[in-house]
Symmetry: C2
Subunit: 345 residues, 2 copies
């Protein structure tokens, strides 16, 4: 197996820089569109054979160094006994937002083997099929990010209801976060037990918090999950606080082996701030995949040089690949990372 990705996560010596892309199994690939055309997004997440199929597509098509489970961060929330819908052009919707004591108290902690078995089954299939290829990354959302969807009832622009609960009903907020944290912890442990070889925690909305609020209202729950995981598994853990340039001093205390970086931050500066004990992952602007090849390669070279002093570097985008990106441009990116970091062909 190509274990370059796992080595870079652990800060071990690698022959070249491994690369994968957030949302690499997704709508920009015609092969994905074809599978997806036959069923809804949620159905696809819940059909292990097909979820595994789309997970593997970018490995063969693009030559990335890791696979990431095809799923959605909101899947375990649905299993907390909530209704989850995906609406075209709007995105995820929880028709019954969680904003009071009663709705927090009725949330259950799902048993992954029972309520989320389709995820574990997808992982088991993937481990068999990927055995000779690349490692498999499992994932979850971070508790703050997950909480925003429950409290707002879906995506949000200002996160007003979330912050309102945080600032005016801190006990309720804590109860909700404790439950989401427990759910996430159990869920990630089950993914590891099923065969995930690394785990990424997506804190997609961490960047809407001021540093002091992140430290108080979001990070402690991430730390709990990571500490919990570290008791039962030694697979690498990646923490990605999106738009988190101002949160790095706190994020580096999360306990994660790798910190994901979005494209807003100069990777060399971030590496300096993060120090020698944690690997980094990132951070090309997904839209920069549109650049003509010479300029795209220049950007890759700059990212590789900027990350040279990191304990380890996994090249990636700074956010998910956009659905209107030509796959041929994604291939230029992947190839450039490999070539420019010295992979022998």
């Amino acid at each position: 197996m190509n274990d370059t990705f796992l080595k870079a996560c652990r800060g071990e010596k690698v022959d070249y820089t491994p690369v994968w892309m957030m949302r690499q199994a997704g709508r920009y690939l015609p092969e994905y569109q074809e599978v997806r055309s036959k069923l809804t997004f949620l159905e696809l997440c819940k059909t292990p054979e097909l979820a595994a199929e789309v997970t593997i597509q970018p490995i063969d098509i693009l030559g990335v160094d890791a696979a990431i489970l095809f799923s959605d961060i909101l899947i375990p929330l649905e299993a907390m006994d909530l209704t989850l819908e995906f609406h075209e052009k709007i995105g995820p919707v929880f028709p019954d937002p969680v904003r009071d004591r009663q709705s927090v108290d009725r949330l259950i902690i799902p048993d992954p083997e029972e309520h989320l078995n389709f995820v574990l089954e997808t992982i088991r299939i993937l481990r068999r099929e990927l055995a000779e290829k690349v490692p498999l990354i499992g994932f979850s959302g971070a508790p703050f990010t997950l909480a925003t969807y429950l409290i707002e009832g879906g995506s949000s622009k200002f996160f007003f209801e979330t912050k309102k609960m945080m600032f005016t009903a801190p006990d309720l907020y804590t109860s909700l976060m404790d439950k989401i944290t427990e759910c996430t912890s159990v869920y990630l442990k089950a993914q590891a037990a099923a065969g995930a070889q690394a785990l990424q925690i997506f804190d997609s909305w961490a960047g809407v918090l001021a540093p002091g609020d992140f430290e108080r209202y979001a990070l402690p729950y991430v730390k709990t999950i990571i500490a919990d995981l570290k008791e039962t598994t030694d697979i690498p853990i990646i923490y990605f606080a999106n738009n988190g340039a101002t949160l790095l001093d706190q994020s580096k205390t999360s306990g994660a082996d790798v910190l994901g970086l979005d494209w807003r931050v100069d990777i060399a500066k971030a590496v300096e701030q993060i120090g020698p004990d944690i690997s980094v992952q990132g951070n090309l602007d997904p839209s920069a995949l549109l650049l003509p090849e010479p300029q795209l390669r220049e950007r890759v070279a700059k990212i590789l040089a900027g990350a040279a002093k990191a304990r380890g570097h996994i090249c990636n985008l700074g956010h998910g690949i956009h659905q209107f990106t030509p796959p041929s441009q994604a291939k230029i990116f992947i190839d450039a990372v490999h070539e420019l970091s010295g992979k022998s062909s």
Copy 2:
């Protein structure tokens, strides 16, 4: 006139820290809602007597130290001969996005006296009515931010079309930016000539750019406008690059007298990075206005202490006040800034 705000902009000694709030003339005020209920948002912007009335409301109700013209950053774009609509819950819409040579070439540079006279008339009314009270801030959007609305056809999540033009049609992008820059420059000069006593340039979407792209595709146009203004007026200029923590090293070269800071950045760290030659404005999370009074005052105290070493500090929110904020909470904020910074009552 209370000139504390202007002095802080210039880094002159002040007796207390001046404060105003972005979107202080807005929907959170019942007095605003009442005026607004009689006409559309765009009609209100274009009715000088009423626009002046809502501009003044927060001065009397909250006791802020500056007034900001009631208008919208998209108003001058409409005057470039574009159709602009405001849709409930969606926001601004340009039904004919500007994405090709033909649609760039047909844009006109509006003559403010002719096409935007209602703005200048609002400023003239305000100067008469505010004479004994507080200074009046005029404003515009920054070219990059304005361009995103034209290219995307409204608000956006990923700014894919904007970056696509930037990365794949750089000449077209430059032509569009040059036109918007000229339009903005002429517009701000006219606001100054009509009586605006300070000007704020809102770069609401600067934060979606990687630092290198900001430096290349956004900042030069801001610099052109500020340099242009500095030739004809000495009123203070505030540049606010929202979500711009990673852009501070570049923003401080903009030529602005004051840099606005959003709430994501620790103000003490930002002040250290900005240095002794520029004043700062900010930066309470607007949602933190919901906090119980003692905690809200604590946050104000922390911001005031964090900005102590700045050349000058204008206290403000880190973004516009949210429409569901109780005005009484806004009043606690304003009063706390005044009291804690030593205003004699």
